[in-house]
């Protein structure tokens, strides 16, 4: 029956899962890394999983564990996590009108489940479909649950594998390598390159500063340099 509301919501959830599927292979290596690198620092598998459960945001998880391993101060860890996750403010602002009338718990869960991937498919599909709130929530939930489950599974699997991999494999080095790939992927313009170079140089100059402050200074200097460069060009 096409007008059975439950059937309809179920099919929206399935539709969300189907839309999410092509984006899943990309998160598998990342999830495994998020699981085994903390273990290579000496954290337990559960400690490694805690980041995936509580944060559910890949790049910032890697950063948090790397900084904890370097005994960075709590403020530096939180500022870095906030900086890496600032983009979610934009996603959240852009997706909010579509979920505004949902109840509190749904909105909170939607916030927790927000990822680059679910944002991408909802941002693409909400405006082109005439769905009511329930259908939009079902679509969001379908896609989110799928990626959440896979992310948790990959982290736990990675953490267990990490426990049996010997120290000399140096798997923790995959964290800076991952950031390197992510960073190089953002160099869309001269201004982005300026931001990146400045961030790297200031961070390098500040390597010996206490509490990993060089990292924060590098981030701030890089952002300013990018903005200034763009202003000067336009």
């Amino acid at each position: 029956m096409p007008h059975d509301p439950n059937r309809q919501l179920q099919s929206r959830a399935l539709q969300g899962m189907r839309a999410m599927t092509p984006l899943l292979p990309g998160i598998v290596p990342f999830g495994l890394i998020a699981g085994f690198t903390p273990v290579s620092f000496g954290f337990t598998w559960f400690d490694a999983w805690a980041g995936s459960l509580l944060m559910f945001a890949g790049a910032s998880q890697l950063a948090a564990y790397q900084l904890m391993n370097e005994s960075a101060s709590l403020w530096v860890i939180l500022l870095t996590v906030a900086a890496i996750n600032l983009r979610y403010l934009l996603y959240s602002a852009s997706i909010a009108p579509h979920l505004a009338n949902a109840d509190r718990l749904t909105r909170l869960l939607a916030g927790y489940g927000l990822t680059d991937q679910i944002y991408a498919i909802c941002h693409r599909d909400y405006p082109t479909h005439d769905w009511d709130l329930q259908e939009r929530v079902a679509y969001y939930a379908g896609g989110s649950c799928l990626i959440w489950g896979l992310w948790q599974a990959c982290t736990v699997l990675g953490a267990f594998v990490g426990q049996i991999i010997p120290v000399f494999w140096s798997l923790e080095f995959m964290i800076p390598l991952t950031f390197l790939a992510l960073a190089l992927n953002t160099l869309k313009s001269r201004s982005h390159q300026t931001a990146a170079m400045t961030g790297a140089i200031v961070s390098f100059a500040g390597l010996t500063l206490p509490y990993n402050l060089g990292l924060i200074l590098g981030g701030v200097a890089g952002i300013i340099a990018g903005v200034v460069h763009q202003r000067m060009r336009s």
Binding site: P29, I33, F43, D47, A50, G51, L54, M55, S60, A64, Q66, M68, E70, L74, I77, V81, A82, A83, I84, N85, L86, Y88, L89, S92, I95, A96, P97, R107, G111, L114, V167, F168, W169, S170, F173, M174, P176, F179, L180, A181, A183, L184, S191, A195, T198, G199, A200, V202, S203, F204, L207, L215, G218, V220, G222, I223, A225, G226, V227, Q230
Partner: protein
């Protein structure tokens, strides 16, 4: 699990949840100021590059901790090769493999 670790992860989780749900939660959404959106563009390249640096220049990898140090730290060279791999392939997995392989190689030729 140390108390410090629990605090760090729990607070990092709260910060993340706040950023993710700030606008979904708020009933009244307002437009983010344009200067903020402009600056946001440059947060990923700046912070990610700033993060790469200590990972490349600070501390010892497992190889060194296990087998002792070598004259030239293999991390920066491995990172350079990984960077060149990414710039040519635009793919993450080959980049990681190239970086790890060069790390082992640059360490191995020095022992």
């Amino acid at each position: 699990m140390t108390e410090q670790f629990i605090w760090a992860v729990a607070l990092a989780g709260l910060v993340t949840l706040f950023l993710k749900s700030a606008f979904i939660e708020g009933q009244h959404y307002f437009q983010l100021p344009q200067w903020f959106i402009d600056a946001l563009e440059f947060v990923p390249p700046a912070i990610l590059c700033a993060l790469v640096i200590p990972g490349i220049f600070k501390g010892d990898v497992g190889l060194v901790r296990e087998f002792g140090s070598v004259p030239i730290d293999p991390k920066p060279i491995a990172a350079l090769i990984a960077a060149m791999t990414f710039l040519t392939t635009k793919k993450t997995v080959p980049t990681l493999l190239a970086g790890m392989a060069s790390l082992y190689l640059v360490f191995w030729v020095q022992i």
